[in-house]
Symmetry: C2
């Protein structure tokens, strides 16, 4: 429970497949990286690798772009959203620490 993210976060998808999955051109995907909206990893040889989370994020980005939202604004939104989620996670951690299942 609460740790089913292992697959969703693993960076293993090539840009070509991400392009198919999202409908975005590779050019756009690379551009959003340049603008720090997304952070793929790299293989030894420098090929980009994305996670399913990245794919979802790219689809959100695409939706916003279609509505005319600039990359800068999208970045702001995305960052805000992340802070919020990180906070939720932390609170949950604190609760578990006091009332949750003991680890030993």
């Amino acid at each position: 429970m609460g740790q089913e993210s292992s697959y969703k976060d693993k960076k293993v998808i090539s840009i070509g497949v991400v392009s198919e999955l999202t409908g975005l051109t590779e050019r756009k995907i690379r551009y959003y990286e340049e603008k720090k909206l997304i952070y793929p990893e790299r293989t030894n040889r420098g090929y980009r690798k994305y996670s399913f989370n990245d794919v979802e994020r790219l689809m959100e980005i695409a939706d916003h772009r279609e509505e005319g939202v600039t990359t800068k604004e999208i970045k702001y939104e995305l960052t805000r959203k992340e802070r919020k989620e990180a906070k939720q996670k932390m609170i949950k951690g604190q609760i578990n620490a006091r009332f949750g299942i003991q680890k030993n």
Copy 2:
């Protein structure tokens, strides 16, 4: 609940990445496919694509091979295991159909 498999089953990983993930050579991975131990999909251009499930399966195969189990025997084991899981799933489905949450 019970349908978190979407990522695990999606075929999106190239053979090169699968090779890194499993430690198997591409030759071996292709051979296991030839022997029907695994069923990757293909991109438009014919490149193999694997799921995380396939990766796990390959690691099981690797373990068995290390112990000297032949591909034929492994295939038998894997098939048996699948039948078992399919059965569980079906039973669960029947229970839900009678006592589970209504769909309409």
